[in-house]
C-alpha cells in the first residue's frame, strides 16, 4: 500500500507534447511508471518517447480504458479546461504540475474536483512518488532512487525542491518513504496537509509523516486541528519555513487578511498551533532526521 499512486497507476499525460512534459516522460518511463497515453489537442497521432498522443481525453480513454490517473502539464491558461475534461471522463486521480494558474480558475477546478469526489494534488506540484512503484512529474529528478527508497514515512510539502531535500534528510536518518507528495503552495490547494494526513492515517505502510510547511494560508493550522481532534493518530514531524519574514519590513495593505485569519498564516503561529496539538516541530530543517528517529523509537 501507499497513497494516491502505486504499481496499478496507469497514467495519461495531458499536455504531453510540451517541452517540460516530454522531457519528464523518459524519466517516468525509466522509473517504471506506466505512462500509457498522452493528450495534446491538434497533435493526435504523434508519439512522445513511444507514448501515443491523442486529441481528446475521450479518445485516449477509448483506446486505453485502463487509464486511472491524469498528470496535467498544460500551460496555465489551458489548465481549467484540461482538468474539467479529465473529470468529465471519469478520471478520479489528478496531479497538476502546471504553475501560475489564476486563483479564480483553481477555485472553479477545485469545486468540480469536490463534486466528482476526486483527488487532485497541485497545482504547482513537483509530483508524487511511491518509491519502487510509480513516479509522477519531476519529483526526484532523473535518479529518484538516490533519495527515495521504499519505507514507512509519508512526506508532504508545499515547496517542490524541499520535498526532495526533506526526503533526503529522512533517508540519512535511516528511513524510507511510503509516498511523497508535492502539494504546491497555491492559495487553493487540491490536496492540503489535512487531506493528505487523512489518507496516510488509513495507509498501513505509513507509520509516520513528515510535513514541510510555509508561511501563508491556514493549511498548517488545519493539520494541527486534525491532530488535536485525534483524527490523525500516527507520529507527525513538522518543519515550518519562513520565520525570518516576520521580522522583515512589511506594509499592511487592507484588513481582510487580518480579519479572516488573525495571526494564522504566520510561521510562528503555525509552529505553536502544531506543537500545542502534540506535533513534533523541528527548529532547524535537518533536525527532522533526529526528531523522527526519536519518535519512531518511541513508537516501536
Amino acid at each position: 500500500m501507499a497513497i494516491i499512486v502505486d504499481e496499478d497507476t496507469k497514467v495519461l499525460v495531458q499536455g504531453i507534447t510540451g517541452r517540460e512534459a516530454s522531457e519528464k516522460i523518459s524519466e517516468m518511463l525509466k522509473y517504471g511508471t506506466d505512462v500509457v497515453a498522452g493528450v495534446t489537442p491538434g497533435k493526435g497521432g504523434q508519439e512522445v518517447e513511444g507514448v501515443p498522443v491523442y486529441d481528446t481525453v475521450e479518445e485516449a480513454l477509448n483506446q486505453h480504458p485502463e487509464i486511472n490517473t491524469s498528470l496535467i502539464y498544460v500551460p496555465p491558461f489551458a489548465a481549467k479546461d484540461a482538468v474539467l475534461e479529465a473529470l468529465e471522463k471519469g478520471i478520479k486521480t489528478l496531479n497538476v504540475i502546471t504553475e501560475r494558474i489564476p486563483t479564480r480558475d483553481t477555485w472553479k477546478i477545485y469545486q468540480r474536483v469536490e463534486e466528482e469526489d476526486a483527488t487532485m494534488v497541485g497545482p504547482t506540484s513537483v509530483g508524487i512518488i511511491t518509491p519502487g512503484e510509480c513516479k509522477l512529474g519531476p519529483i526526484g529528478g532523473n535518479e529518484p532512487e538516490k533519495v527515495y527508497r521504499p519505507g514507512k514515512v509519508g512526506v508532504i510539502s508545499k515547496s517542490g525542491g524541499m520535498t526532495t531535500e526533506t526526503s533526503w534528510v529522512i533517508r540519512q536518518a535511516g528511513f524510507g518513504i511510503s509516498t511523497a507528495l508535492g502539494l504546491g503552495g497555491d492559495v487553493i490547494a487540491g490536496t492540503t496537509f489535512e487531506d493528505a494526513l487523512k489518507l496516510f492515517e488509513e495507509d498501513d505502510q505509513t507509520e509516520a509523516v513528515v510535513m514541510f510547511g510555509e508561511l501563508g494560508g491556514t493549511y498548517e493550522e488545519k493539520a494541527a486541528e486534525l491532530v488535536a481532534e485525534d483524527e490523525f493518530s500516527k507520529p507527525l514531524v513538522a518543519y515550518i519555513t519562513g520565520r525570518f519574514t516576520e521580522s522583515m519590513p512589511e506594509k499592511k495593505y487592507g484588513h481582510a487578511g487580518a480579519i479572516i485569519r488573525g495571526d494564522r498564516g504566520k510561521p510562528s503561529h503555525k509552529k505553536k498551533a502544531l506543537e500545542e496539538a502534540g506535533v513534533y516541530v523541528a527548529d532547524v530543517h535537518h533536525q527532522i532526521g533526529g526528531v523522527l528517529k526519536e519518535v519512531m523509537g518511541k513508537g516501536s
Binding site: P76, F77, R100, I101, P102, T103, R104, W107, Y110, Q111, P138, G140, G141, V147, S157, K158, S159, G160, G161, M162, T164, E165, W168, V169, Q172, V187, I188, A189, F212, E214, L215, G217, T218, Y219, K222, Y239, T241, G242, R243, F244, T245, M248, P249, E250, K251, K252, Y253, G254, H255, A256, G257, A258, I259, I260, R261, D283, V284, H285, H286, G289
Partner: protein, 378 residues
C-alpha cells in the same frame, strides 16, 4: 499587483460601481484630498484631508505632493467631492483557505478602526445574488435597502471575479441619498491572470520602502537576460552574505542562519538554470556589502547546472578575494566538476572556505559558518 486607490476605483467604475466625482470643479464645494500611497490608516497619518472649497483643496494638494507617509513618497494625490453619508459599511472579498472558496467579509460599522471590530464572513459558492440578500436579511436589513445593498455587494463580487482580484476591499462603502458609493478601495490583482486582461498599470515595489541601489542593480540582472532567475535580492541590515538557491530552500536557510545566531545581509534566491554571467552579477551585488561571512547554499538541484552557476560565483571570488569565511553547500548536475574547480580556486586565492556536498544536511552548514565567523573575529 497591489493597486492605488484611484486605480482600483477606475476598475470598479468600469464594473458599474459608483465612486465620488473626481477633480476640482466648483469653487464653493467641499473636497477630500487623498495621498495615493499603499499604507493602511492614511487618515491618521495625514494622508486624507478635507477642504472647504476649491482653493483650499488646491493648497492641500500642493502641500501633500512630495511629502512622505511612512517611508513612501507621495507622488499622486486624488481630489474628490466630499460625500454626505448616512451609514458606512466595510466590505471585502478574498480567497479563504479555510473553505477553499472566495468569501465576503462584511461589517455594518465600517471606516477607520475596522481592524478592532468584528466582521462576518460569507463563503461564496458562486456569484448568485440571492446569497447576499440572504446574508443581509440575517443581519437585519429590510425592504429597499436589503435589495439595493445586496445588488451592490453582488456587483462588487462580480468585479472581484471578473478582474481576477485576490483582494478587493471597500472601506467604507457609503450609504447616501443617491445610492451606495465606494469611498475608498484597495485591490490586489492576481499577476497569474495578467495574460487575460489588457491593463496599463505602472510597475511597483511590494517592499515597505524605496529600493536600494543594490536591489535596483540586482533587478537589472533578470531584465537583461530572462534565462533562469538571479535578480531577486532584498537588502537587510546584517553582516552575513546570503547566496541562496531555490525558493523553499532559501527560506529554510534564512531561518537556519538566524537560529545559529547569524544576521543576514540580504535575502536572495536564484533558480531555474541561470547562465554563468547572471550568477556572477548576483554574486558581485552580494559581495559589494561589508561582510563578515558568506554562505552559498541550496538543496540538491534537479535542473540547475552546478558547474555553470558556480563558475559565475568563482569569477566574483577572483575579483573580490574575500578575507571573511565562506561556506558552500551545493549538489546536483555537474557538481563533481564544480567542486573540483572550487578546491583549486580555494588554494590559488587562499580563501578561508569550506565546501560541502549533499552528504551534509543543508541547514547544518549554517552552524559551521557561524563557528568560522566567531573564530575569525577572535
Amino acid at each position: 499587483m497591489k493597486l492605488q486607490e484611484h486605480e482600483a476605483k477606475n476598475i470598479l467604475e468600469k464594473n458599474g460601481l459608483k465612486t465620488p466625482e473626481k477633480g476640482l470643479t466648483e469653487e464653493e464645494e467641499e473636497y477630500v484630498v487623498k495621498a495615493q500611497v499603499f499604507s493602511n490608516n492614511r487618515k491618521e497619518k495625514g494622508g486624507i484631508r478635507f477642504a472647504k472649497n476649491r482653493s483650499e483643496a488646491e493648497a492641500e494638494k500642493q502641500e501633500m505632493i512630495g511629502g512622505r507617509i511612512d517611508t513612501e513618497e507621495i507622488k499622486d494625490v486624488l481630489v474628490e467631492e466630499k460625500i454626505d453619508l448616512t451609514e458606512e459599511y466595510y466590505v471585502s472579498f478574498i480567497y479563504d483557505t479555510d473553505s477553499r472558496k472566495p468569501a465576503m467579509i462584511f461589517s455594518r460599522d465600517g471606516g477607520t478602526g475596522i481592524e478592532d471590530r468584528e466582521g462576518s464572513k460569507l463563503p461564496l459558492e458562486d456569484d448568485s445574488q440571492f446569497r447576499f440578500r440572504q446574508f443581509l436579511k440575517g443581519k437585519g436589513f429590510e425592504g429597499k435597502e436589503l435589495v439595493k445593498l445586496a445588488g451592490t455587494l453582488h456587483k462588487l463580487f462580480q468585479a472581484f471575479l471578473e478582474e481576477d482580484a485576490r483582494l478587493l476591499e471597500v472601506n467604507p462603502l457609503a450609504r447616501t441619498g443617491d445610492g451606495y458609493i465606494v469611498l475608498d478601495a484597495m485591490m490586489d490583482l492576481d499577476d497569474d491572470a495578467n495574460y487575460r486582461h489588457d491593463r496599463d498599470l505602472p510597475d511597483r515595489s511590494d517592499l515597505g520602502r524605496e529600493k536600494t541601489d543594490r536591489e535596483v542593480k540586482a533587478e537589472k540582472i533578470d531584465e537583461d537576460d530572462h534565462r533562469g532567475v538571479a535578480g531577486k535580492y532584498t537588502e537587510l541590515d546584517g553582516d552575513i552574505g546570503m547566496m541562496l538557491a531555490g525558493g523553499g530552500a532559501s527560506l529554510t536557510n534564512m531561518d537556519a542562519l538566524i537560529e545559529y545566531g547569524g544576521e543576514p545581509a540580504n535575502y536572495t534566491e536564484y533558480g531555474g538554470n541561470p547562465p554563468t554571467e547572471k550568477v556572477y552579477r548576483l554574486s558581485k551585488v552580494i559581495m559589494s556589502k561589508d561582510l563578515d561571512g558568506l554562505w552559498h547554499v541550496g538543496g540538491t538541484a534537479n535542473n540547475t547546472d552546478i558547474l555553470r552557476t558556480m563558475e559565475g560565483f568563482i569569477q566574483a571570488l577572483e575579483e573580490e578575494r574575500p578575507e571573511y569565511p565562506i561556506v558552500i553547500r551545493r549538489d546536483g548536475p555537474h557538481a563533481d566538476e564544480a567542486f573540483e574547480l572550487l578546491r583549486e580556486k580555494r588554494e590559488e586565492l587562499d580563501i578561508n572556505m569550506k565546501l560541502y556536498r549533499n552528504d551534509t544536511p543543508m541547514t547544518q552548514t549554517a552552524e559551521v559558518l557561524m563557528e568560522m565567523v566567531k573564530n575569525d573575529e577572535n
